[in-house]
């Protein structure tokens, strides 16, 4: 089995248009959630979200590209550029043949669907743009990144709702680990902040109208976000031989299915995924210094997640730090695990634990150290990133400080 390291990271989300600005916002506990701005927002009862600030599509892509790139593809390409540039890899010859792209997304080109359904149903038009299908398909972001960077190895898109990114990165990890790929570009992207995307979530009545307050007793639901994060996973010897900077090592992955309910989370399913990631990484609970929680800010997730962590970590659950950065960037659905992996890298590489902001009242059912409101300095050797999706599909990744 080969060792797998991360040699590049890129992102665009409500906290920043790149990794340095995102990590700075996380360190400062800044909130990227604000009033939503898009067409028909006045017909929504939920009017806040982690919408990206300072993004102008026309300044980033030309007319031909915009005709082909849905917003979720634009985000993925932007994050991929930062990650691949940081890695310093150039994909040619054998390296190109043995490197691919695996992304997570839940809604894919949802803005394209929303705009075109509106045109044919509401506005009664009978003709749509010829690129609607290649623009909206869930694998569009994956394919455009593979085309842009000549990535010719195993490439596909994973859709497991809120766990999509973690499932995608888990596949990439295992492909490099087993020698099937030399490097993998992986992560996730989501752009669900459009009228139809938010309207659908409203129906479930789990959204907050004012703020995302994970683990706080007065939490009242999730807040959606948008954006992408992309990483370069590379075989360790390959990275070492070329003197690449190693951000951290990926050491374990586990996925489980609750097989119980389409929306309610299960403590057992989540605990089995956490325990599975520890077993895969050959670590004990005491090794873990930080957990990036799924922490959606819903009543159900947060108490179930805390119970699952207590189950899987035993007494060590009382000392481990666990925060939810969704309080700052919102829930990116299929892209969320990727953006949250940045908080794990910050913990391991910079020794800074991102806080859970908006924490106001302790909840006896969430009695762990959730790093409330202010970032903390700490020396962390191993971190976990949790993702628990609707449909009961769980995926947990384990990371270790570079050595």
């Amino acid at each position: 089995m080969k060792r797998v390291v991360i040699t590049g990271a890129g992102t665009v989300n409500a906290l920043g248009l790149d990794v340095p600005s995102t990590l700075e916002a996380m360190r400062e506990g800044r909130c990227g959630i604000s009033e939503l701005k898009f067409r028909d927002v006045d017909r929504l009862s939920i009017k806040i979200g982690g919408q990206i600030h300072g993004w102008t599509t026309e300044n980033r892509f030309n007319r031909q590209q915009i005709a082909l790139y849905d917003r979720f593809t634009q985000f993925a390409l932007t994050a991929a550029k930062e990650a691949i540039e940081q890695s310093g890899l150039e994909f040619i010859g054998d390296l190109a043949a043995k490197s691919g792209v695996i992304f997570g997304t839940s809604g894919g080109g949802l803005n394209t669907q929303d705009d075109n359904y509106r045109m044919v149903y509401e506005e009664g038009k009978n003709r749509v743009h010829p690129f609607v299908v290649p623009k909206l398909m869930n694998n569009a972001s994956c394919s455009h990144v593979s085309m842009e960077y000549n990535l010719k190895g195993p490439s596909f898109t994973v859709a497991t709702a809120c766990a999509s990114s973690n499932h995608a990165m888990g596949q990439a990890f295992n492909m490099v680990r087993c020698g099937m790929a030399t490097a993998m570009v992986t992560g996730g992207s989501e752009s669900m902040l459009c009228f139809g995307g938010v309207k659908a979530w409203e129906g479930l009545r789990v959204m907050s109208k004012d703020a995302c307050r994970p683990f706080s007793l007065n939490r009242n639901g999730m807040v959606q976000g948008e954006g992408a994060a992309v990483f370069v996973f590379e075989e360790y010897e390959h990275a070492k031989a070329r003197g690449a900077e190693i951000l951290c090592e990926v050491i374990g992955f586990s996925m489980t299915s609750d097989a119980s309910d389409i929306v309610m989370p299960s403590k057992q399913g989540a605990a089995r995924a956490i325990a599975g990631a520890m077993a895969d990484a050959q670590i004990t609970p005491e090794d873990i210094g930080y957990i990036n929680a799924h922490g959606t800010g819903t009543a159900a997730n947060d108490k179930t997640e805390c119970a699952a962590v207590a189950d899987a970590l035993g007494h060590h659950a009382d000392t481990v730090m666990m925060s939810s950065t969704k309080s700052m960037h919102g829930h990116l659905i299929g892209g969320t695990g990727a953006v949250e992996l940045l908080a794990c890298i910050m913990a391991l590489k910079d020794g800074v634990i991102a806080p859970t902001i908006n924490y106001e009242e302790p909840d006896p059912e969430c009695a762990l150290d959730v790093v409330p409101n202010e970032a903390r300095d700490a020396d962390v050797d191993v971190a976990l990133s949790n993702a628990f999706a609707f449909g009961g599909l769980n995926a947990v990744i384990a990371l270790r400080k570079a050595s």
Partner: protein
């Protein structure tokens, strides 16, 4: 009018509970009727559509909602209140 509202609400609840409307009693709560959290949000959706009202309900804080769901009669009363409030 009031009886008509009650009949419609009980029909909605009965459909979710897979019961005959005559088997739904005023004092029963959602647990008694075997209606889970998803069934509840479906009931609220059906009530909103039937009476053209907006029901203030967040599944994260059912107890803090102004919309009392503690029993069938409480739901009927709450819907009657919302209809009066929102039609005025």
């Amino acid at each position: 009018m009031s009886d008509e509202i009650k009949t419609k609400i009980i029909a909605i609840i009965a459909e979710q509970a897979v019961l005959e409307p005559s088997d739904v009693r005023d004092d029963q709560d959602l647990d008694d009727l075997g209606i889970d959290s998803l069934g509840l949000v479906e009931c609220i959706f059906a009530i909103e559509e039937t009476f053209d009202i907006s029901v203030p309900f967040n599944a994260n804080e059912p107890d803090q909602s102004d919309f009392d769901i503690s029993s069938v009669s409480a739901i009927v009363k709450a819907v009657q209140g919302l209809i009066a409030e929102q039609s005025s």
